[in-house]
């Protein structure tokens, strides 16, 4: 009897009414079937061992980069479906395609997934795939920590994504402001999912920041001084340092909210003199640098793409570095512009308004540098270059509307209206997403060894960018006409309907662009256009001096760097033989050994998080013990490196045609 009651109670906790909607159940069934099919396929083809040894336990930055990329594309799909659901609801007045609760859950998941589980991993995919190759290193500074970062991100993403079928999704928006996110107004486990999944992924992000900062500062090839680093490496260095100072306040904000909800503290509650605005401050002390964490790597990508496809060295290298540094510095002094309405007074607001406007100056410098790089160059309109060209007008519009929002009195008018929604999609999509997609198309052959079909890529680009403008331009006008964000539905007769219809049509065109992109990837996989030269774009930086994909150890011979665009100089000066190795120069190479510790550690975090989410403290303790056990295992296990002997290196290099006779 007891067991029966207990089971019933458990079922009620795991499956509250909000997860039993027909569409969610249908998705659950679909996912279960897909899991069984994939599992059966792996069993039938006996690929579990391959999966474990080649991918799940790998510490190779190139493979970790690929896993990040795949995960990010899946999350882009998830977040995109959420976006289409939102737009479907808003296509007509008084529509009730979803209830208000579900609508809230969908926009919360959309924002959270897109920022933390799509944009961030996409950026880390590019970091992992390229940084060691660009600086002439064999791996990152801490390969095992790199794998830990990935698995923490992956389990964090899984945690957020299972919330909609087990226990209930979060519904307090991606910023999750108290007091609404507090237990009193938001009972159930959804908000706990949000807090714990971001916390776990955030720890991984901090580790990535540490890793790439140290990698770039300490692992560069001889001769590559800071002023000879490619701009993408500079952007990554500055992004990593931003992560270090931005993410701990997020950790604190999320942690304190969790203490409020799970352990009854009184930080951001309305009672007991808690102070919800403290959360908002902490969140945006993280949140504003975060938008630069998102966009700087995109700036870096464009600074690689433009010179390559204009066949010209980057214009104003020093100004590029200087403006990146200026933006990163200014980004810490702008957080209050997210809530001018707090009531901090005119002096404070003017300070933050001005500091925000100042950021337009270094950003403008970068815009002109890219344009001047193209000026007089021989431009090739490849897919990465097309994304760059679309980025310039899009980001300029986004930046200009950002200046409008930074004007304090104006902001009182359009704060939290669709004007704001249009603005930040304009900069985040037009900056980050265009940037990472440009980077994906640019470095794809380096990552996989075959190139993506350019004609299909152009179609995907055209649909996506066209859909983008159609979606978001009407939203500026909706904002002016008074439509506020997060409205689950709206009455007829306000003049909003036509604009909303256009916006929804645009969103579906973007969705079609994504579908074409996936088709592009699958088609190109089945009809591979092999990259045999390793340098399909006639590139300028060191990663193009390697075969595609690069061998496990990247460089058989560490290059000695003499100029900024080293590979380009080698080609111009006929020094390309410098990358080749010979029987006389070949040396054994030490590489880190694969280890199951990262995935075990992340799984332990996952178990502990489930325990905290549902308030099953025995399980939280179990997870904590697992974390300690995994760390102890990692510390005691002798993870000495493996040695690839010189003969094997020579053989691999010979197969790639990279041995001097």
């Amino acid at each position: 009897m007891d067991i029966k009651l207990w089971t019933l109670h458990l079922l009620k906790v795991l499956f509250p009414p909000q997860v039993l909607l027909p569409d969610i159940v249908a998705i659950d069934i679909g996912l279960t079937v897909a899991t069984i099919v994939i599992g059966a396929y792996l069993t039938k083809t006996r690929k579990w061992g391959w999966l474990w040894h080649e991918w799940l336990t790998t510490v190779d930055h190139k493979k970790i980069g690929i896993m990040y990329l795949i995960a990010a594309l899946i999350m882009l799909f998830r977040g995109g479906v959420d976006a289409l659901m939102i737009r479907s609801q808003l296509i007509a007045p008084n529509a009730h395609f979803m209830g208000a609760q579900q609508y809230d859950e969908v926009f919360t998941t959309h924002g959270t997934v897109m920022i933390f589980f799509m944009a961030m991993p996409m950026i880390f995919a590019l970091f992992n795939a390229t940084i060691p190759l660009m600086i002439g290193a064999r791996d990152v500074a801490f390969p095992r920590l790199n794998a830990i970062s990935f698995w923490l991100f992956a389990f964090g993403a899984i945690l957020l994504n299972i919330s909609f079928s087990i226990g209930g999704s979060p519904s307090a928006g991606w910023m999750s402001y108290p007091p609404y996110s507090e237990l009193l107004y938001n009972p159930g486990v959804g908000e706990n999912y949000f807090l714990l999944s971001l916390q776990i992924a955030g720890i991984g992000t901090i580790a990535t920041g540490i890793n790439f900062l140290v990698t770039i500062l300490r692992m560069r090839a001889p001769g590559m001084s800071l002023s000879k680093m490619p701009i993408f490496v500079w952007a990554s260095l500055i992004t990593s340092s931003l992560v270090l100072f931005a993410f701990p306040p997020l950790t604190v904000a999320l942690g304190l909210t969790m203490l409020d909800r799970v352990f009854g503290a009184s930080f951001f509650t309305l009672g007991h003199q808690g102070m919800p605005m403290m959360y908002v401050n902490l969140f945006w002390i993280f949140g504003h640098p975060e938008v630069y964490i998102l966009v700087m790597p995109a700036f870096g990508v464009f600074s690689e793409v433009v010179p390559t496809f204009s066949r010209k060295a980057l214009f104003g290298y020093e100004a590029m570095v200087g403006s990146l540094l200026a933006i990163s510095f200014l980004s810490y002094g702008t957080w209050v512009h997210h809530f001018f309405e707090m009531g901090a007074g005119p002096t404070v607001n003017v300070f933050f308004g001005l500091s925000t406007m100042l950021i337009a100056i270094p950003t403008g410098v970068k815009m002109f540098n890219w344009i001047f790089t193209m000026w007089g160059g021989r431009i090739r309109l490849t897919v990465p270059m097309l994304w760059q060209l679309a980025f310039i007008p899009t980001f300029v519009v986004g930046g200009a509307t950002g200046i409008m929002l930074a004007a304090v009195p104006g902001d009182y008018q359009y704060h939290n209206s669709y004007f704001l929604i249009a603005h930040f999609h304009n900069v985040i999509l037009g900056g980050t997403v265009f940037g990472v997609l440009s980077g994906m198309y640019y470095w794809w052959p380096k990552m996989f060894g075959w190139n993506l079909n350019q004609r299909q890529g152009t179609w995907a680009f055209a649909l996506f960018v066209g859909g983008f403008w159609l979606t978001f331009m009407p939203q500026y006008f909706l904002g002016f006409e008074g439509m506020t964000r997060r409205m689950a539905t709206y009455p007829a007769g306000l003049g909003w309907t036509a604009l909303n219809v256009w916006s929804t049509v645009g969103a579906f065109v973007m969705g079609a662009g994504f579908v074409v992109m996936v088709y592009n990837i699958l088609w190109s996989r089945m009809h591979p256009d092999w990259d045999t030269t390793g340098d399909p774009w006639d590139g300028r930086t060191l990663e193009w001096s390697l075969p595609s994909p690069a061998p496990e150890y990247n460089f058989a011979r560490i290059p000695v760097v003499r100029s900024r665009d080293e590979w380009w100089s080698m080609k111009q000066e006929g020094r390309t033989d410098e990358v080749k190795t010979s029987e006389a120069t070949v040396r054994p190479i030490h590489m880190p050994r694969n280890t199951p510790m990262p995935i075990m550690l992340a799984a332990a975090f996952f178990v502990g998080a489930i325990g905290l989410i549902f308030g099953w403290f025995w399980m939280a303790i179990l997870g904590g013990v697992g974390v300690v056990a995994a760390l102890a295992y990692g510390s005691f296990a002798d993870y000495s490196e493996i040695e690839i002997d010189a003969k094997k290196v020579l053989k691999t290099e010979a197969q790639l045609g990279r041995v001097e006779s």
């Binding site: 604190v252 304190l256 009184s266 930080f267 003199q273 005691f636």
Partner: protein, 201 residues
Amino acid sequence: MSTTTTTTTLPPEFQDNLESIRIMGFWVFLTTDLVLFGSLFAVYVVFRSRVGLGPTPHQLFSMGPVLTETLILLTSSFTCSLSLYSARKNRVKGAISWLVVTLALGMSFVLLEIREFTTDVLNGHTWHQSAFLSGFFTLVGTHGSHVTVGIGWAIMLAIQLGMKGLTLTTRRKLYAFALYWHFLDIVWIFLFTVVYLSGIA
């Protein structure tokens, strides 16, 4: 990566390129921890006067136990340095013994802190009572849990020193641990000043 010996005065863990990179990584980690504590200090300072129906800092704190905790932690920082000093002199037994002394002092610090917290809670001053108490318990508790983690680390490190002796890796780990321990000491000095001294005054 081979060792790049430039000068013999550098300790072994700095002469090895990989180990010195790891030490740098640990420094960078400490900066993130510094920002974490900085955020918690900010929360505490904002919440200090928001006592609600609960006690004020002045009513809650008493100097005696806190002063003892401070002395214990400062002493443990000294013994931690002695452990590192022994390692530099290649005396593995000395390194282990001083490490054990350090973790024993750390444990007594944590026990005293737990006693302080338990007393407060038994008097009805849980962190539910006010924003001030939430901020206080979290800031001091975060430091305390860092010390606890450090104790676990020291235990494992002592075992590894016993098993493997003074290798490059164990030397580097001991050095990183010492950095961590001194860092916690510095945080405590700020904590002692901002929380306790200015609360009692």
